[in-house]
């Protein structure tokens, strides 16, 4: 099979972790007789530095012309203290989501038996946790009208959703639930927000099309609690953009494997795969960042974008093996193991595929 992949390494540790995911993907391609063409493109702070905008048109065209996008991370500390700077790396992220029509962000949280004790939560609370958030990614308060009034003394942001935006996200949720334990939780704040009431009534109306799926409706504040108390009581959760931003990040720390969590963003055009950790500027260039989340994002890409399940499983198997044998970067080191470099972990994965 011929696989055309856009490679958006981004900023900070992005290039380093992407590099290892490319090595592993190439090795898998060789083993299974696929041919990958990687097309690198600029995004984030490095794009601003080079061409003045964080998501250049050329990058967009490369993404559109590819079968999948593998993404590292964007962000640079020089933008951190001025969130109102006219050009910022995050704007590129939002523009990319919008232009690629990436309306669903797929964020699994699961545990690795060998890493459970890294979690801030007690073992008995998280054992068996295996949940997936579908976060709406191109609507809501992120993209609604915003601005100032009264000489800048009043600020406003508008959260807007249409029924069809909710439907297309919820459809993915129901379909995903059908492939898992058939449990779907719709997270909203329908006791206060009109957009949440639209979400709830839309999902309620879709229930009849998926009679096998058990749907629950929970308020976002209650979910924020239960995620810490009983994360393993959830399976598939669907929610709007801002709630999803907060809750998926909260969920990512409960497993103790934050540095290992992959994600996908899917929608109308090319799908995008990326580790959930950020650009981790302090570690840039040190060859110490954990590449496994990016490698596992590549596995998601093989499975979901190309339908290559066996290839994906082979990647996951070798990642598990590296964890069991303690071939890990410093963030996962225990008393018994030593810290490997980013590139050493990648080399080991390639050698053991």
């Amino acid at each position: 099979m011929k696989l055309k992949i856009a490679l958006l390494a981004g900023d900070g540790i992005g290039p380093e972790v992407i590099n290892e995911a490319v090595k592993v993907s190439d090795a898998i391609a060789k083993k299974f007789n696929h041919e990958i063409t990687w097309t690198p493109a600029l995004t984030g702070a490095c794009a601003i530095d080079a061409v003045g905008v964080p998501y250049p048109d050329e990058t967009h065209e490369i993404c559109m012309a590819s079968d999948a996008v593998l993404f590292g991370a964007v962000g640079h500390p020089k933008y951190d203290n001025d969130p109102s700077a006219p050009v910022r790396p995050e704007q590129g992220l939002l523009l990319m989501r919008k232009k690629l029509g990436l309306f669903a962000n797929v964020r699994p949280t699961f545990t690795f038996p060998s890493l459970i004790d890294n979690s801030p939560l007690k073992r008995e609370r998280i054992e068996g946790t295996d949940l997936v958030f579908l976060r709406e990614l191109t609507g809501g308060i992120y993209f609604g009208e915003k601005g100032r009034k009264d000489d800048g003394e009043t600020a406003f942001d508008t959260c807007t959703y249409t029924r069809s935006e909710v439907q297309r996200l919820a459809k993915k949720g129901f379909e995903l639930a059908m492939t898992r334990t058939k449990k779907l939780c719709c997270v909203d704040k329908a006791n206060v927000l009109e957009t949440s009431r639209l979400w709830r009534e839309t999902v309620q109306a879709m229930e009849k099309d998926y009679p096998e799926v058990t749907v629950s409706y929970e308020f976002v504040d209650a979910v924020a609690m239960r995620l810490v108390q009983w994360p393993n009581s959830y399976d598939v959760l669907i929610t709007e953009n801002l709630f999803g931003d907060i809750l998926t990040d909260e969920a990512s720390v409960i497993s103790g494997s934050m540095g290992l969590m992959p994600s996908a963003s899917v929608g109308e055009h090319t799908s995008l795969y990326e580790p959930i950790h950020g650009s981790y500027p302090q570690a840039t260039g040190l060859n110490i960042a954990n590449p496994l989340a990016t490698v596992l994002s590549a596995a998601m890409m093989f499975e979901d974008a190309f339908g290559l399940k066996e290839e994906a499983e082979a990647i996951r198997a070798v990642v598990n093996k590296s964890l069991e044998q303690g071939i890990v970067t410093e963030d996962l080191v225990t008393k018994e193991s030593k810290a490997y470099k980013t590139s050493e972990v990648g080399d080991w994965l390639v050698a053991n595929l």
Copy 2:
């Protein structure tokens, strides 16, 4: 001292836990020679049942004419499956907050040494946790314009803040920080939202008036993570209404003492004190609900509304004693202790004051 207190027991377990707080408050008043006049008033589902609205004018007048309000909980399962019902208990809550001008919700999260092992988090993660959220309570997306367009196919909610709304909340945050470890965290989403940028610039401009306070600015998604990872790294946190709703509930479960957490809502008129747990409908009338959060809310009331610190300390001391001696309701029972009834815990507190 003469203390005029409005008593809003509300729904579910509200009346039962309020009853114990009244017993303890009366005992304290007797001991310290104060005279309390309690004026009961309807709110929540019981008010809807009685007079058709969840926060009747008469209740509001009673609150306005009192020196403090002691509040139980509102909510009834018959409203749960229909968040768009025309009259709902929560509307009473929002109307009450608005009409009483309760713009700051004070939500401490702290640990009780004897209960640390109840937490879903590991002991070493939460030991020493002692943080306070100041949640803005009468602005933001809760109170902005909301509705439908396009024949109901599009829904919108508007988040609005004015500089002076941010200032009055932030002022309380700085002042509180000055009485504690002088650390203040402003939680926002300034990389996306215009209202958050107003929050951030307003707080930044106030820093010079409180040179001793160290202020940090963190995004809401990052705080949702760090609250689980390192809750004891926070002290005072200020944030807008919706973020506060989510994060204060998340914070409440980390200590393992959710059933014990008090809160205050303060602002332009009479202040209100309430336990953070809800109306817990399943336990209604069973005399099993934990009254300690309400008793500790009464302690906050003595200290903050009346300036009676010694009285507050006496209440806290007897609550600690009850915990140490295992005089607790079933939610806190361990292998070594038996479960006491709600009213038995209250009796014990009164007897041991």
